[in-house]
């Protein structure tokens, strides 16, 4: 071995084994964190760089920006189409999140309390849109609506978004219900409470964090979706992510950086609020697997 041949022959073998061991420990303790920090930089760099670029004084997209200015943020005020697109996206995301919560929570209650064989099938059915290509789902749903004669509108868009957003609600609510166990609900019904009373006064308050996080993720997923939205919105309805997508794809409009800045800011605010109310980070780490 090269490392032993480097040692002077007088040195005891035990000592060289000790230094090798030290090297082994130190190299492990150094290499792993360095790789991890590089990974963390890669994870965060694009978001930080978009933020910095959005304050650029330059008319073209360049990095690092030559100077600081708020011109791109101010230019958003004279961009009424954008406001309409943002409003549409917000409405669709809000409706989607609400319907996902109603459908998802009630399905979760049934799934957690049942020992039927249908539960596994239902779980696979609800979760599968997460992995299937959005473009294919969008195309299929567009063909379906054309076939049954429903014209594309915000309504068809919301239906499509519900399909792809329910998994987030179901996953988080199921996790909360599993942690909760059934003893409190059994105690409530043993004391004579109706199932509805038990649900609204015992179960729901206890699973509220899971419901909120699920709704939050469903909202973000809907607000942000391009693939399904492209197929299910009619040509006249502007949606924010599609507008941004075409702004970036066609001419690298610097205004897109300012919209991104606003979105990053709002998402961060929402995340902080969610962390306060429901321990977002813990739930995300626990449920994603």
């Amino acid at each position: 071995m090269s490392s032993t041949s480097l040692n002077p022959p007088a040195q005891l073998p035990a000592e060289s084994a000790y230094s090798l061991r030290k090297l082994d420990q130190v190299s492990f303790a150094v290499v792993m964190p360095i790789l991890a920090i590089l990974g963390l930089i890669m994870l965060t760099a694009p978001t930080i760089i978009v933020l910095l670029a959005s304050f650029s004084s330059s008319a073209t997209l360049q990095f690092p920006p030559p100077g600081f200015s708020l011109q791109w943020y101010l230019s958003l005020f004279s961009f009424p189409e954008l406001r309409a697109a943002a409003l549409n996206s917000f409405q669709v995301a809000l409706f989607t999140a609400i319907v996902c919560v109603v459908l998802g929570v009630s399905a979760c209650l049934a799934m957690i309390n049942s020992r039927g064989r249908w539960v596994a099938a239902m779980d696979a059915l609800v979760m599968s849109p997460l992995a299937l290509p959005g473009v294919a789902l969008g195309l299929g749903m567009m063909a379906f609506f054309a076939m049954v004669g429903i014209r594309l509108s915000l309504f068809t868009l919301i239906i499509g978004h519900i399909v792809i957003c329910t998994p987030y609600v179901v996953r988080n609510v199921l996790a909360s219900l599993t942690q909760l166990g059934s003893s409190l609900q059994e105690a409530s019904s043993a004391l004579g409470a109706s199932p509805a009373y038990t649900f609204f006064n015992v179960t729901l308050p206890l699973i509220k964090p899971g419901v909120l996080i699920g709704a939050f993720m469903a909202f973000l997923t809907s607000f942000d979706n391009v693939a399904v939205t492209l197929f299910l919105s009619d040509a006249r309805t502007e949606m924010l992510p599609i507008r941004m997508w075409s702004m970036i794809e066609n001419d690298l409009d610097v205004r897109a950086a300012a919209i991104s800045g606003v979105l990053i800011f709002l998402t961060a605010l929402l995340m902080i609020a969610m962390e306060r109310f429901s321990g977002l980070s813990k739930a995300l780490i626990n449920n994603k697997a």
Partner: protein, 281 residues
């Protein structure tokens, strides 16, 4: 299920609204999609769309490129994501909140925003080119945008959290006494890692790989922006054929092929995952 249970439906019916909704607006559309891929131009059923697809080298290249992109991004996420997950698991509790935020950041910022960040980094006047030119390593900006490698880099960052989180879950389930036992038996840090920790996290790595592969080959926004018009992957092809060219039966055939690719990889990796879990217990 016996008759007495059928007569007391308990709460099972609460799942019906969602089940009916998904059957109607998810399963039926998927069936229509697959069925319409067999629709011939002149009417009737045929494999015309599929023979047309495989008869054109551009389409076949899009198929193999998509598959390779999925494999490459998955491997890149494993290599970069594992140290991040390991670091996260072993870091002091005080730092966990901050790290969680950094890891989740790509998932919670909009896909278009994330991709835009990569345009700023990879562009002609972007971060990488400016840095390399200032350092005197290159004279002309190099082309990173509109290349396969550019798409690969961006998608790796975007789907990295989906790899990190399952590995974190796997790592936190490992009994810490195992590593201690390995150390007291004379196993060094690297040896303990490769022979004890790493194999035990196989289920986490497999479920991460499954997610990352499926999400990568389904990605639409990032490949279409970073890849530009020249690089075509299956989702972009579906969009072009289905919406731009209004060639829906052909787009349906491409969609079916993409669905088959995703389902096949998910099933194969899922089977491996089950076996690896059995080996660990």
């Amino acid at each position: 299920m016996n008759i007495s249970q059928l007569l007391r439906p308990k709460q099972d019916f609460l799942a019906l609204p969602l089940a009916i909704f998904l059957q109607l607006f998810y399963i039926v559309p998927l069936v229509i999609l697959i069925a319409s891929s067999f629709q011939a131009g002149a009417g009737g059923i045929s494999l015309e769309n599929y023979t047309k697809f495989f008869g054109n080298a551009v389409n076949v290249k899009a198929l193999t490129d998509t598959f390779w992109l999925g494999v490459q991004v998955t491997i890149a996420c494993l290599i970069i994501g594992y140290p991040v997950a390991y670091f996260y698991t072993n870091v002091h509790a005080r730092w966990k909140g901050v790290l969680t935020f950094l890891i989740m950041l790509p998932l919670l910022t909009s896909a278009v925003v994330r991709t835009f960040g990569w345009v700023v980094i990879l562009g002609r006047q972007g971060l990488i080119n400016t840095a390399l030119m200032k350092l005197g390593l290159i004279e002309e900006p190099i082309r990173l945008l509109f290349t396969h490698n550019g798409v690969l880099i961006a998608l790796t960052q975007i789907w990295l959290p989906m790899m990190v989180l399952p590995i974190v879950a796997s790592l936190s389930q490992i009994d810490s006494r195992l590593a201690a036992a390995s150390k007291s038996l004379g196993g060094g840090a690297w040896r303990t890692f490769w022979q004890i920790t790493f194999p035990l996290t196989l289920p986490g790595m497999i479920s991460g790989s499954l997610l990352v592969f499926a999400l990568t080959v389904s990605s639409f926004v990032t490949p279409s922006i970073i890849g530009g018009g020249q690089l075509i992957y299956l989702p972009t092809l579906i969009y072009q054929q289905g919406i731009v060219l209004l060639n829906q039966p052909f787009a349906a055939a491409v969609s079916t092929l993409l669905l088959i690719m995703v389902v096949a990889v998910v099933l194969i990796l899922g089977a491996f995952g089950k076996r690896s879990r059995r080996y660990i217990r």
